[in-house]
C-alpha cells in the first residue's frame, strides 16, 4: 500500500480527530486545521515505531493533536512572539531531544490508554456489563470466541440492529441468530461478551489501544504497518 493510499484511507480518521481537537465541524479545503492534521499524519507515518507498543492510529492521533495545538499557538498573536516549543519534524536533531521526545510520547500514550480503558469500562457499565462479568462469560475456546466476535461484528455492521442495542441496551438475539446462524443458546450465553465486543468495535476509533491490541478476526479498516 503506497503512502498516498494510506493517507487517502486515513482521511476520515484525520477529519474526525481534527474536528475533535478543534471542537468544531471542519471542511476539507476551507479549514487549515485539516491540512495541518494531514501533514501531522504524514509525520506520524515517518516517526512511528511498531515496537513502542502504541497502535499506529493512537500514535497518529497524538501527533495530530500536538501539531494542531502548535498551529493554534502560532495563529494567536501571543504565540507569534514566543519561541516555538519544539522544533518541527526534521529539525529535531539531537539524540537527547529524540530521547525525551520518546519518553514524553510514551507517558502520554500510557495516560491515554488509561483514560481509554476507564471510558470503555464506563461505557460497559451503562450497558450493565462489568469486567468481572466478562471474565465469567468470555468463552474459553478460541472458536467460540471468534463466533461471538463475528456476531458482534455483524451487529455493528447492521446499523438498525446496533441502534436497537444502544437504545434498549439489550441484544436483539433473534435477529442476530438469523444474521449469523449462531444458535440462540450460544448467543445468550455470550450475551455480555457480544455487547462488550460490539461496543468496542463500533467505537474502535475511540478505543484505539484496546481495539488494536485485540487480534480481531477482521482488519480494522486501516493497516497499521503502512
Amino acid at each position: 500500500m503506497s503512502r498516498e493510499d494510506l493517507l487517502e484511507n486515513c482521511r476520515p480518521f484525520v477529519f474526525t480527530t481534527a474536528c475533535r481537537v478543534s471542537r468544531r465541524v471542519l471542511e476539507w479545503g476551507r479549514d487549515d486545521e485539516l491540512a495541518v492534521a494531514l501533514i501531522a499524519l504524514n509525520e506520524a507515518i515517518d516517526r512511528y515505531r511498531a515496537e513502542s507498543g502504541v497502535p499506529f492510529l493512537a500514535y497518529a492521533r497524538m501527533v495530530i493533536g500536538s501539531r494542531l495545538t502548535d498551529h493554534y499557538r502560532r495563529e494567536s498573536r501571543v504565540a507569534l512572539s514566543s519561541v516555538p516549543l519544539e522544533p518541527s519534524g526534521d529539525a529535531a536533531g539531537s539524540l537527547e531531544y529524540a530521547k525525551s521526545w520518546e519518553v514524553y510520547w510514551e507517558e502520554r500514550a500510557a495516560v491515554e490508554r488509561e483514560e481509554e480503558i476507564e471510558e470503555f469500562g464506563n461505557l460497559l457499565t451503562s450497558y450493565g456489563v462489568t469486567f468481572d462479568d466478562l471474565v465469567k462469560c468470555s468463552p474459553r475456546h478460541r472458536d467460540t470466541r471468534q463466533n461471538l466476535m463475528r456476531a458482534a461484528w455483524s451487529l455493528v455492521e447492521d446499523c438498525a440492529l446496533f441502534e436497537e442495542l444502544s437504545h434498549k441496551k439489550k441484544l436483539p438475539l433473534t435477529e442476530l441468530e438469523k444474521n449469523t446462524g449462531i444458535r440462540r443458546k450460544n448467543l445468550e450465553r455470550g450475551r455480555k461478551y457480544i455487547i462488550a465486543m460490539a461496543l468496542l468495535i463500533s467505537r474502535r476509533e475511540d478505543f484505539l489501544y484496546l481495539s488494536s491490541y485485540l487480534r480481531l478476526p477482521f482488519g480494522l479498516g486501516v493497516d497499521k504497518n503502512e
Partner: protein
C-alpha cells in the same frame, strides 16, 4: 501458557486483563509494582481453577447428601410414644430399636426439664431415668406431698409393648428411690388413637387418659384442673387415688372378662404402684402390684385406708394372682353378711 494481556481493571489482589485473543481473564496481580491500567502483563496460567471449583462443589454436595442419608437412616419414624407426667409433661418418640428419636415438652415445666437433659438418641429407659432424676433435682417430687408419676406408652392394639413396662418402671423408680423419696407410679399402655386424641386437645396422653377415666366414673374434674395441677396435687385436692382411677377401669373390664372367660383379653397390661408416705420403706417392696389385665382388686383402696395392712393386702394379691377378684368380692360379701348378722344380733 505464555500469554499476555492488557490490564483493564485492577482489584485488590487480582486484576482483569484482556488478551489479544479477546479473552477476559482474571489473574493475580504480578509481583512488584501494581500495573497501570492498559499495561501489558504476563498472565498466570489458571485455566484449571473453574474445573477444581466444580469438582469441590460436587464433592461437598455428595458429602451433604451422604450425611443426610446417614442421618435419616438413624432416625426411623417413631414406633411408639411414651409420655411422662409428673407435673412436667414430656412426650418421647421411640424408635423400634427402643431409642428416643425426639422429645417434646407438653407444658412449660417439661420444657425446663428438657432444657437440662439431652435424651435424644438415648435408650428409652435411660432417657426416662434422666428425666425423672431431673424432676427430682428440680423438686417436682418432694418428700412431703403426694407424688404421682404417670407414664403412658402407646401400644398398637394387637402388638406387644415395644418396651417392657417393668423396665420402664425400674427406670422411674431408681432415681426416685435413690434420693429417698416415694411416689405413686402409674404405667399404662394406651392405644395410639388415644394419643392422637390427646394431642388434638393439647394435653399429654396421661392427663387425657385421667380425664377420660374420671368422666367415666362421673367425677368432677375439669380440663383446667387436669392441666394446671400437678398430679400429686390433683390427687390431694380431689381426694381420689389416681392409681385407683386408672387401674379401676381395668377392674371393670376384668369383671366383664370374668364372665366370658378369664384369659380372653390380655392385651392391656399396666403397672400400678401406690405408696404412702407414712408406710415408707416397708411398703416399698410389697407395694408393687402387677395386674394382668383381668385382675384388679380393691386392695389398692384398702392400702390407702390402712397403711401397714396395705402391704400385706397387696402382697397377698400378688401371690394369689389370678382369680382373687372373686375371692375379694366374696370376702366383702362375707363382711357385709357379718355386719348384717351383727345388726341382727343387736
Amino acid at each position: 501458557m505464555n500469554e499476555r494481556g492488557m490490564v483493564v481493571k485492577i482489584k485488590r489482589k487480582t486484576c482483569i486483563a484482556l488478551t489479544a485473543e479477546g479473552e477476559y481473564r482474571e489473574t493475580p496481580l504480578p509481583g512488584g509494582a501494581v500495573p497501570r491500567l492498559g499495561q501489558e502483563i504476563q498472565l498466570a496460567p489458571m485455566r484449571r481453577r473453574p474445573y477444581l471449583k466444580q469438582l469441590m462443589a460436587a464433592a461437598s454436595l455428595f458429602i451433604i447428601l451422604m450425611a443426610g442419608f446417614l442421618y435419616l437412616g438413624e432416625t426411623p419414624p417413631a414406633a411408639a410414644y411414651l409420655t411422662i407426667d409428673i407435673n412436667p409433661s414430656i412426650e418421647l418418640a421411640v424408635s423400634t430399636a427402643g431409642k428416643v428419636i425426639s422429645a417434646r415438652a407438653i407444658d412449660d415445666e417439661g420444657e425446663k426439664i428438657l432444657a437440662e437433659v439431652k435424651v435424644k438418641g438415648r435408650d428409652l429407659r435411660e432417657a426416662v431415668g434422666l428425666i425423672v432424676a431431673q424432676a427430682v433435682a428440680d423438686s417436682y417430687i418432694q418428700e412431703s406431698g403426694d407424688n404421682v408419676i404417670m407414664a403412658t406408652l402407646t401400644v398398637a392394639s394387637d402388638a406387644e409393648p415395644l418396651v417392657d413396662l417393668n423396665s420402664v418402671y425400674e427406670a422411674i423408680k431408681k432415681p426416685v428411690e435413690s434420693s429417698g423419696l416415694v411416689s405413686d407410679v402409674i404405667i399404662e399402655p394406651v392405644a395410639p388413637e388415644l394419643r392422637l386424641e390427646a394431642a388434638g386437645s393439647g394435653i399429654s396422653t396421661g392427663r387425657y387418659l385421667l380425664l377420660r377415666k374420671s368422666d367415666n366414673k362421673g367425677l368432677q374434674i375439669s380440663v383446667s384442673d387436669i392441666t394446671s395441677m400437678g398430679l400429686g396435687k390433683l390427687q390431694k385436692e380431689k381426694k381420689l387415688s389416681l392409681v385407683d382411677l386408672v387401674a379401676g377401669d381395668d377392674n371393670d373390664r376384668g369383671d366383664v372378662d370374668n364372665s366370658q372367660g378369664q384369659e380372653a383379653k390380655t392385651t392391656k397390661r399396666g403397672i400400678y404402684v401406690e405408696r404412702q408416705k407414712a408406710a415408707g420403706e416397708q411398703t416399698k417392696q410389697d407395694g408393687k402390684v402387677t395386674i394382668s389385665g383381668k385382675k384388679q382388686t380393691g386392695s389398692d383402696t384398702v392400702a390407702e385406708d390402712v397403711n401397714d395392712n396395705a402391704s400385706k393386702g397387696n402382697g397377698k394379691n400378688k401371690n394369689e394372682g389370678n382369680g382373687n377378684n372373686g375371692q375379694d368380692k366374696e370376702k366383702s360379701g362375707d363382711n357385709s353378711d357379718k355386719r348384717d348378722n351383727n345388726k341382727h344380733d343387736r
